[in-house]
Symmetry: C2
Subunit: 350 residues, 2 copies
């Protein structure tokens, strides 16, 4: 099936190739209406569709956006960033060329130069989780950083507002009436910036509520269910009056461990213990019993934002990152503390 070319359309319509090009590209219309119509009709009839390669060679625009990521495609974690970015590209008639570097610097720098060489119109550099990184060499100006930001700025970037997320999670618990709220922090060697930001949100909300943060309620865990189990066991081994009535976990995996431990020890959630996670991780948070109240990471929104900036559809600051809201997702793991619940039920009717 030899494809029909612009020249074929021109011949069939009895005009020059230049005219066909002008008409089909809606150039400033010096072409007569009847010619335009005829050209369009003929193009339609023969099913003409311009060869994007030839067009790119001439115009130097390819209609493609490069998306390089460390591990976004490999982990179940952040696929929605990719999906959000891809969706915006498609809506705007662009194609995304994806390269996943699996975290290898050599692959990354090769990917960047390949993409630049392929004349992508724009580029987004995505990380699997919120981090601050040195900007890779060779990145074109205007590359947008997704879920990470470059040391020293200089590029548009979007990251989750983890401080506000930490506040929201804690506020949810304070509002339910809790005073003894634990924070199970990320205890991995390479503690991410998000952990610190969420902690600050937690501390600030507590303080504003007139609750003095208790160091005994700030514990660390490896970010996995097993870590969550150990951490909650530690917390629950505190003297009864010092135990938390609620816990805010750094992420849903840790929260899952808390829930599992509770099941095994006959502790009811949320009646005996409230828990709030973070991430709203698919196939985890909603699957717990009870379904977990958590703070969602706005992956799709960040992906969309990044692509909009890459396409020039949206202006962006290159000095400081755009902070994306992390909305709380209310499910069923938060309730008033037990003493409040039992003290209240008989008396209050509302």
């Amino acid at each position: 099936m030899t494809r029909v070319r612009l020249a074929d359309v021109a011949k069939a319509a009895g005009v020059s190739p230049a005219t066909v090009s002008l008409v089909l590209n809606d150039a400033e219309s010096r072409i007569s209406d009847e010619t335009k119509e005829r050209v369009r009709r003929v193009a339609d009839e023969v099913g003409y569709s311009p060869n994007p390669i030839a067009r790119s060679l001439r115009t130097r625009v390819t209609g493609t956006i490069g998306l390089v990521s460390d591990r976004i495609a490999t982990t179940p974690f952040a696929g929605r960033m990719l999906a959000g970015a891809q969706e915006v590209a498609r809506e705007n008639g662009r194609l995304v060329i994806l390269v996943d570097t699996d975290g290898h610097p050599e692959i990354e720098s090769e990917a960047i130069s390949t993409l630049v060489n392929h004349r992508v119109d724009g580029m987004v550099y995505a990380s699997m989780y919120h981090q601050i990184i040195p900007a890779p060499a060779g990145l074109p100006a205007g590359t947008v950083f997704l879920d990470c930001r470059p040391e020293g700025g200089g590029y548009p970037a979007v990251v989750p507002d983890d401080y506000a997320g930490g506040r929201a999670a804690t506020q949810e618990l304070v509002d339910a009436g809790h005073r003894r709220i634990a924070y199970i922090d990320d205890g991995d060697d390479d503690r991410p910036i998000a952990a610190q930001l969420r902690l600050e949100g937690y501390v600030d909300v507590l303080t504003e509520a007139g609750i003095e943060p208790d160091p005994a309620l700030h514990v660390f865990a490896v970010t996995a269910a097993a870590g969550g189990q150990r951490a909650i066991a530690e917390l629950m081994s505190l003297p009864e009056d010092q135990r938390p009535t609620a816990v805010f976990a750094f992420n849903d995996r840790i929260a899952a461990g808390v829930v599992m431990w509770a099941h095994r020890h006959g502790i009811r959630i949320p009646e005996d213990l409230s828990v709030v996670g973070y991430d709203d991780q698919q196939l985890v948070a909603a699957e717990l019993d009870p379904p977990l109240t958590t703070v969602s990471l706005p992956h799709a929104a960040m992906g969309r934002w990044a692509m909009e900036v890459a396409l020039g559809l949206r202006a962006a600051d290159t000095d400081s990152p755009h902070l994306m809201d992390c909305p709380i997702v209310r499910r069923a793991s938060v309730a008033p503390p037990a003493h409040l619940g039992s003290a209240r039920d008989p008396r209050v009717t509302d």
Copy 2:
């Protein structure tokens, strides 16, 4: 930064553009060794790198592979297929253009024609889960189907060997000494082909082991933790001598529900009940307590296979799909049945 062109290299080396092209492309070498060397050196010095757009226009090969998928990028489920495919492409100097259709037929057909129009060298069509589908219109010959297969064949395809996986899961339990093994099947309206294949594997292994499949032990659940909880509750409400000592769950989410229910009811896994899942779902299977023995879906291997075929690196049958092995992943949720364990321990020493 105006890039250096082939003509620049030619001028600097004092030869014609044709010569440069021939040398750099290692064409059948009619060029003298000294000329070759000089051209290569000059090209190197000026940092020449051919413009792939111009080359594509001339040669009609673009070095790109189109990957259209329904939802592979959006769900946490099958990202490894994408990663495997992308990895093979990269290893072979190709770029993958990804379009996720989110399951919309209009987007899909538009994506296919866009990709074809962009002159991709090959195409892979990926599904989120093993299914048989009508081949979308407009798909180029040789498009490889990933984790799905076209009705009526005609294209290379790769799917997991779910029958063998069902056998492996059941065999694991039979080998541990179980005789009363339940299968919690997919009870969703649109029961996937994998559910039937796994069931057949289960029945066949049981039969071969001289165990008559008990219809009471074949139950259905919605594929979520909640479904698993209801199913195991149903199973455990059977008279004691009819209850299963082991369960094979259609997937890890259902298995997770089984484990949660067990925790709540003081049933120990694997001492009191063995469980085998399916999928080896990241961030789920290994996170359970105990970590789940399961059958893994070979997503990365399937992704690699599909891309290898798309690149012509591997021959493939277009009549019947390639069946990819689903290896069992042994963790800690399987043990001999309780009566065997207690009967055996005092006597056997090995």
